[in-house]
């Protein structure tokens, strides 16, 4: 089966092609982007989402800006690229992979000072492709490492979509699921629907069905009852940002699942590339949490089911404290508590 490719770069047309995730699973529509501003809007409107995927996409957004500048002044090119980077950085505040990818692009730009515009563009394109390939390789590695944590005949609960769609491909949490499944270790994947945007019901369910991995869709509120019944052996989720002490920001609802897993003595595993770790933040309390529109909560697409007058609170992420995390799977190894020293060690040795 063809691997899921949410992000593709067309090197001839200098065009970014995104699978429009807002339409999945009903429609599989690929959109071409030639403007970094349109890429920023695609990130904002969740055409592409998932921390690593946002990072890759933003990197290609920078490349598009560089190609859009058709002059020959390096300073002019630099200004256009810097403006695009600012725009892209303003799209979504929580996933640090976005800033990490933009930082890599910024360093590349700085490193190519004195070169011709053509050379700078090539350097930026090369770097974006490297970010993309690194992410794909990291997912494979996390999958292999994480599969070792999965018991035989495992019933695995996952939340949101930390799958191929959330990355360059293969996935973080779902990378672990895929690798474990290929080793015959997965008897069931419980797919939390993940309100309000339903990334579980729409995207994770689609990935599982597509690859024949046994999966059952539940509402977010059912996770506790499943755990109480002994039907969950392991929780695996992704991450949008991990603070220096191991606190994990991830899709809203992750914290509730972590508390439930703790209460039932079920391992709670986070799979995320090194680019998700933000050593500049001492703890999760400093991670900015995006609040999104009320529309996402009062209905879905054409259906509005709540009274228009009701107040809404819609934080897109929450923070799970390190105490509730059993292990963090990175491409450089599995990190265990105490996370503080382990995370700084693994970042230092990279």
């Amino acid at each position: 089966m063809k691997a899921i490719q949410p992000i593709r770069w067309d090197p001839d047309a200098k065009q970014l092609i995104l699978l429009d995730q807002s339409l999945l699973p009903a429609e599989e529509v690929y959109r071409g982007y030639s403007e970094s501003g349109e890429v920023a809007e695609a990130i904002r409107s969740l055409v592409v989402r998932g921390a690593p995927a946002i990072g890759c996409t933003a990197a290609f957004g920078v490349v598009l800006a560089a190609y859009r500048y058709t002059g020959s002044e390096a300073a002019g090119l630099g200004a256009v690229v810097a403006e695009a980077m600012d725009d892209l950085a303003g799209t979504r505040p929580t996933a640090v992979n976005l800033f990490w990818a933009l930082d890599r692009m910024g360093r590349t730009l700085a490193g190519s000072a004195g070169q011709s515009c053509g050379a700078i563009r090539s350097e930026l394109e090369r770097e974006a492709l490297a970010i993309y390939r690194d992410d794909l390789a990291a997912c494979r590695e996390m999958g292999d490492l994480g599969a070792g944590l999965v018991p035989e005949s495992a019933k695995i609960l996952t939340h949101c979509n930390a799958g191929a769609l959330a990355t360059a491909g293969y996935g973080t949490a779902l990378g672990v699921v895929r690798s474990a499944f290929s080793r015959g270790k997965v008897s069931m994947v419980w797919v939390d629907e993940t309100r309000p945007v339903l990334q579980g019901a729409r995207l994770t369910a689609w990935e599982m069905v597509r690859e024949g991995i046994p999966a059952t869709l539940i509402t977010d509120s059912m996770a506790g009852a499943l755990m109480a019944a002994g039907d969950v052996d392991l929780v695996v989720v992704g991450a949008d940002r991990i603070a220096a002490n191991g606190d994990v920001a991830n899709k809203i609802g992750t914290y509730s699942i972590a508390v439930l897993a703790h209460h039932h003595g079920i391992p709670f595993v986070v799979a995320a590339p090194i680019s998700t770790v933000d050593l500049s933040l001492v703890s999760g309390g400093s991670i900015p949490i995006e609040e999104r529109e009320r529309d996402e909560v009062i209905g879905f697409r054409s259906e509005v089911w709540a009274p228009e007058q009701v107040r809404v609170y819609n934080p897109a992420f929450d923070v799970t404290p390190a105490e509730l995390v059993t292990a963090i799977v990175t491409e450089r190894g599995i990190v265990r508590p105490p996370f503080g020293p382990a995370l700084s060690e693994i970042l230092r040795t990279g």
Copy 2:
């Protein structure tokens, strides 16, 4: 403001009028019922839902069957009524108030042996009205008692709809909220949307908006993050069945909230009339849990968002063990742990 009346009996037309809750909040449609079979279907399809409301509705369904039999043979009337009771009993398995109300109607039928058909019909009608009025009075009493458990400026989290719509009126959990609000004690009601049927987003939000009680709608997955932020002082929910040991069956997701409340040291209060207590069951493990259709989970109304091929698990209720319950508010008093002796005492003294 006119009180919410989800269930009305027209004594002249001998007709039951139900507010169609499946259409709320967009439309406020009242439907007339003259056949007990249609009433059973209304219960099954969630035109009316909520444990006490189901009990009241079923009682009137029995009355309709009695009036539908136009003969003058008491045995014939008895057979028709018994058949209607069987049909009504088969609608929904978890809420015990249904069986409790049917049991009251059955006793009334048995107690009027030897009377004329007209007299039997009148007795049944009187009993159904008594069940209805008792429920309304019980809700008021629970509201007053429960309000004493609510701290000043309370931020209260509730799940599903245990409101006027779930009862003859006023509500169980929302009865507590209403009474506390009338005493100036409520600063915010956090309304869990309660997937899959969205009773929170559709019904509780509607009740709160209608009465100007400050309320904020959240997805079910946000409760944990709110608790961690210190924004929940108290959880109040209803119940569909309470076992002899104090284990509580209630809308799916209640258990998760109870675990979260326990983790954060937040009181978890259940408000339910005595008719919800089932002393025949030693513990919650014996409470039958209704499983509903996959359609409820893969979408809502016209929107289908999950892949059609995905498996679905859709239990409508879960069981919260007594250890996680701080208090049970009944119309006869507030019951505290150990619930076993306290519940049997309060039922005995009724």
